[in-house]
Symmetry: C3
Subunit: 206 residues, 3 copies
């Protein structure tokens, strides 16, 4: 279980670091700005999760692997050869969709797992709320710091996918155990998020 979670967390970190770094490149930031935005996007959700649960200092501050991975990924995104390929807008759109969806899925379920082992007791609402806040947190920080209105407010069923997957994960936890709940929850989030973008599902606008 611990190894699965570590591996998933690393995928989430890499995914969100890519989405942050690509945003930085699009905003014409220098290499440090790109790395900073990559790190904040990749670690933001986990830091929010640990602040809310009182697990201080947050894991991102105690374990270098996440921040160092995010920095390495950001530098790779910044390499001229890689950046040139990102000029193809369709490819960039697909990359951002996949990485952002993976990050959303993984950070949502990982927050539920952290809450379950932190001794706050089983509280369905707390699990879903903390899962969603941690899942969307990194992307919200990315958008606010880059000067954009957060994606969560304008497009697709973003928060909705995170809430649905968090519900699935939290409801299954006592029945099917942690591993299956985590896989089921993250699959729901990733699938809903990608399909809603691909088929332009949309919610009523004001």
């Amino acid at each position: 279980m611990d190894r699965i979670l570590f591996f998933l967390g690393l995928i989430g970190t890499i995914s969100f670091a890519i989405s942050g770094a690509v945003t930085g490149v699009n905003k014409k930031m220098d290499i440090f700005g790109v790395a900073v935005l990559g790190v904040i996007t990749a670690t933001g959700g986990g830091i929010i999760r640990d602040l809310v649960l009182g697990e201080l200092p947050p894991a991102a501050f105690r374990e270098p692997v996440h921040a160092l991975t995010a920095i390495a990924v950001s530098i790779i995104v910044f390499l001229p050869a890689v950046r040139k390929r990102l000029d193809d807008k369709r490819m960039q759109g697909t990359l951002l969709l996949i990485t952002d969806s993976l990050g959303l899925a993984i950070f949502t379920v990982s927050a539920i797992q952290t809450a379950m082992v932190s001794g706050t007791g089983y509280n369905l609402f707390l699990l879903v709320f903390i899962g969603t806040v941690s899942g969307v947190g990194g992307g919200v920080l990315r958008d606010v710091l880059a000067g954009d209105v957060p994606y969560i407010f304008t497009k697709h069923v973003y928060a909705c996918a995170s809430i649905a997957g968090a519900l699935v994960c939290a409801l299954l936890w006592n029945i099917a155990g942690g591993v299956i709940s985590i896989i089921a929850g993250s699959t729901v989030i990733f699938t809903m998020r990608v399909l809603s973008a691909k088929y332009h599902w949309s919610l009523p606008h004001a």
Copy 2:
């Protein structure tokens, strides 16, 4: 006392949820964006209060009533029949002024009450600071996330009203008891905020 605080908290939640949801509708967000902005505005001040006091996880994560109320209120604001009435700019202005003032007043005094029972001891400066930060926090988050410069920086005697009411509430606490302090403090804030808007009180500009 507990019942009064719960009831006041609910009014504060509803007020800030309305102000967040109306902002979202004005920004042409879809129904989820509107609900998310409503929830963040309504729970933001209380989450900041609990993070600062170390009361973790914050009440907003433990007790569903606040977030669920905020979601319900946001959906009502989003209903076409309600939205149409909000097109009347004068009515919208009055609604936003009343709800934002009520939220400011209630979250300021409720943070002082939470601090008093949390065992940090009587520290006048801490009480006023935490009252003000929690009072204005929800509105600041709303404005930053909606891409606006926070209201607190540009208009009227916003922070000033919160500080004045927090001072009244904290100074009265040991003399007159919690209930009277809470009523007096929130009345000062609401009255100052509404009167300053109505009579265009203004502070020197740069």
Copy 3:
């Protein structure tokens, strides 16, 4: 040691309060907006540091000296006689560079000192990360709240200076003791930041 830190902290507070208040004046805020931006810039880094380390409530909430100093400084910046002198753009640029660099240097090393005495144990990565986050935090809050893209993302070797000084400070700590580490670390940050601005050092842009 305690006296040195208190004195340094006060210089950091005054520096960041000036940079926040000048930003507020440039944005045509009223006197309360200017004071609020001054206080948030001056206390933001320390509040982030204490939230991350779990030292709650944060020192800024317990000890009035920082916030009251920041308010006093902001009011002085707002005085017509002072403001008029700030209209000279070259003078304003120099003032902002010096104060922002001092604040960056002092809040970076002060966070390392707080972490060292907080009992989290010696963890080089944690020390550097928390130093950098606390150092840049006040300025990031200032820029986000003022509606600007944070300085850290667009200019010079800002985060780089903070990281370099934090590394120097943390590496020296067990060898040379706290006082020398703090002086060496903050000198590195201040010098790198000022020289990079003066000689237009720049990092590769996308």
